[in-house]
């Protein structure tokens, strides 16, 4: 199954179209993030989450009725796929005592139940967490720009960050569009994607760094194409081996981790795409804008021209 060298794909020729499509996707994502915003879970927005498992069949409407009697009509109720009598209820923040009353009211009206999880987060903690999350993202970005600049070149770090940015916007944009909850694990997933997508980009850029050194006859455009092609099977196979466990996590990992796995899955796909189609081709744009002559080879010149 060795395909390297048999077929060379041109990733650079149609880059303008790729940029356009990517730009549209980013704009849709950003628009949703700005205008629709995020559905912050209780980790960030504050509130109470109760996960309960009734012994007997109970409907969402019945749960809702009990909540209404506590003036918690705005709560969201989610029944789980795996077990229809298991519910996750999200309400405004309620005190421990009120929570206890609510639970005993559930028992009184709907029968015996088991309390699986009760989480209450105050608004102060949530606001604080948003700040910390932002710092963490900034820290990761600055750390990577610094490292890549030291090991490679500044422009390499900029295109890597742009590719990263793309992967993050896709994940957060889709979560915003879908109204999916943003919780601490989702942010952890985004940071993981940051780490992972950069990994993919670095492998390609590293190949480019090597090729720039040894294949001095090639145009920069060709060098980029060769580098992407040389790393292509590795990029795809590594993405596959990473996506397989993520899928296992999504389907068998339970309700708490399924959204986390979903975010990772979207991020891996978007990250792989941006590593291949966005990061290195952008270097061409950079050279054009800043009029850089890469390795003494005419960048804009045609193949073989000298």
């Amino acid at each position: 199954m060795d395909l390297i060298g048999k077929k060379q794909f041109d990733f650079v020729k149609n880059r303008k179209i790729v940029y356009l499509i990517s730009l549209i996707i980013v704009l849709i994502g950003l628009t949703s993030i700005i205008f629709q915003g995020f559905n912050f879970g209780i980790d960030f927005a504050g509130g109470t989450l109760i996960q309960i498992d009734f012994n007997e069949a109970v409907s969402t409407a019945e749960v809702r009725k009990v909540l209404d009697s506590f003036n918690l009509g705005k709560s969201t109720i989610q029944s789980l796929h795996e077990n229809e009598n298991e519910f996750i209820v999200r309400t405004e923040g309620i005190s421990v005592e009120r929570g206890k009353e609510l639970l005993s009211s559930f028992t009184k009206n709907l029968g015996e139940l088991e309390v699986l999880r009760v989480e209450t987060v105050g608004p102060v903690i949530g606001e604080n967490l948003k700040k910390i999350a932002l710092y963490a993202l900034l820290f990761a970005f600055i750390g990577m720009v610094t490292y890549i600049t030291v090991r490679f070149e500044f422009k390499f770090s900029i295109v890597s960050i742009l590719a990263l940015f793309y992967a993050c916007i896709v994940v957060l944009g889709i979560f915003s569009l879908w109204g999916k909850e943003i919780t601490i694990p989702i942010l952890a997933a985004v940071l993981t994607i940051v780490g992972y997508s950069i990994n993919n980009t670095i492998v390609i850029l590293d190949r480019l760094r090597e090729n720039i050194k040894f294949k001095t006859k090639e145009t920069f455009e060709n060098l980029i194409n060769i580098s992407i092609n040389q790393s292509l099977y590795r990029t795809i196979n590594t993405s596959l081996t990473t996506i397989l466990p993520i899928l296992a996590l999504y389907f068998w990992g339970g309700s708490i981790l399924s959204d986390f796995a979903l975010a990772l899955f979207i991020g891996m796909v978007a990250g792989t795409y941006s590593s291949i189609f966005i990061a290195s081709p952008l270097l061409l744009g950079w050279n054009k804008i800043f009029k850089v002559q890469q390795r003494g080879v005419r960048i804009i010149g045609k193949k073989g021209s000298k």
Binding site: E97, E114, R117, G143, L187, I243
Partner: protein
């Protein structure tokens, strides 16, 4: 086999042996987080009220009282820590009834005796002891005993309220409204409320530990019952096993002989991760399990990079041995740079994370390091050994 290689092979065996020694049996050697074994994670904040502003002494006193309450609840290995100036972190692993425990921790527990006009006659400040018992109708009651000063105050309060109600309140809520029959001078009294055995026990604990000097608010409370934790573990193991098998099979189908080597390295990598987790006494959380599962996929990455490189070298008609050396040395820098950038992200996660996410950052970082080690050292040894006996055809 040269000395250099003998040394490397021995070191690898020693490392694997240590990892197995450290991590087995798993259920004893790996610490489980609150989200997996069940329990409560609570952050309290001392807040100012007009009559009780917060100062350093008050926070220290609150810490002591909460510690005493938790000790009496019988929680093993609780964490009670001050965070910053006014916050207190409480973690109660494996607690049976997390909700009740949290309720007990956060209560001010100010016991007051009020006359019919609602004037406070005395408080629980001078209690010596509080015990549960049963009255003649075998209803649970709480027996309290005052110290000398308290007994005197209580004697006076009962004397001036004979034939009247002397209400007993806790944090302003009436729990009992007995009528004083005669003055009580020995400092002993009983509280007969609508108690269950458990609520009587909890009240006794609260009274023994004393009232908090200032009001506390619960900023964050995450309680997980033991069932959900067990469920999370079994689902995590299932997802992990399926993920592992999928990756093992994929590598075998796609990379054949190389794949077998990678699979072997992957299994060793998993052992090393578990050994490291147990060795540094890290706490395994649910996101931590997710981190390990994610590592399964990432761990083969370094191997894939190496194999692709070796294949390229073989195409240049180099010998097997030379291709292995060239492939490794060329792949090494890539693996190193790519993994350092991933580690930077993991570091950011660690810095940002609260409990469970820290667990994720830890397993992810350990996973990256373990996978680098197995790819660069273990895979190399195996390939070198293969190269002494076979032609490269056996791998591709």
């Amino acid at each position: 086999m040269n000395w250099n290689r003998t040394f490397r092979v021995t070191s690898v065996f020693v490392v694997i042996f240590i990892a197995i020694f450290l991590s087995f049996p798993l259920n004893e050697k790996i610490n489980l987080g609150l989200d997996l074994q069940g329990g409560s994670h609570v952050i309290l904040e001392c807040v100012d009220t007009p009559n009780a502003p917060v100062d350093n002494d008050a926070v220290i006193r609150v810490l002591e009282i909460i510690r005493s309450r938790i000790d009496q609840l019988g929680v093993s290995e609780p964490v009670i820590q001050r965070q910053g100036t006014r916050r207190i972190l409480v973690q109660l692993p494996g607690v049976e009834n997390p909700e009740a425990a949290v309720e007990i921790i956060g209560k001010t527990a100010l016991l007051e005796f009020k006359d019919e006009a609602g004037v406070t006659q005395l408080t629980g400040a001078h209690l010596l002891d509080a015990k549960t018992n049963f009255d003649q109708f075998s209803r649970p009651i709480v027996l309290i005993e005052f110290d000398k000063i308290g007994a005197k105050e209580f004697g006076e309060a009962t004397k001036s309220n004979v034939g009247k109600v002397l209400a007993i309140t806790l944090d302003g809520k009436e729990i009992s409204t007995p009528v004083v029959q005669e003055p009580i001078l020995d400092g002993r009294a009983q509280i007969t409320g609508k108690f269950t055995v458990e609520s009587a026990k909890h009240l006794a604990i609260l009274l023994r530990a004393g009232a908090l000097p200032v009001q506390v608010e619960i900023l964050e409370n995450r309680s997980v019952g033991p069932t959900l934790g067990k469920d999370s573990i079994s689902k995590g193991i299932k997802a992990g096993t399926i993920g592992l098998i999928l990756v093992l099979v994929f590598m075998l189908i796609y990379y054949k002989g190389f794949g077998l080597v990678a699979d072997f390295a992957l299994v060793i990598c998993m052992l090393l991760i578990l050994g490291a987790l147990a060795g540094i006494k890290a706490t395994l959380t649910l996101p931590g399990i997710a981190g390990i599962i994610l590592t399964i996929g990432m761990a083969v990455d370094a191997n894939i990079l190496i194999f692709e490189r070796i294949k390229e070298e073989l195409k240049l008609d180099k010998t097997f041995r030379a291709s292995i050396d060239a492939g490794f040395s060329k792949a090494f820098r890539t693996i190193f740079d790519a993994n350092v950038t991933t580690l930077i992200a993991a570091l950011a996660l660690f810095y940002f994370g609260s409990g469970p996410i820290k667990g994720f950052a830890v397993t992810l970082s350990i996973g990256i390091l373990a996978s680098m080690f197995t790819a660069i050292v273990v895979t190399k040894i195996i390939l070198e050994l293969v190269a002494t006996k076979f032609s490269p055809k056996i791998l591709v």
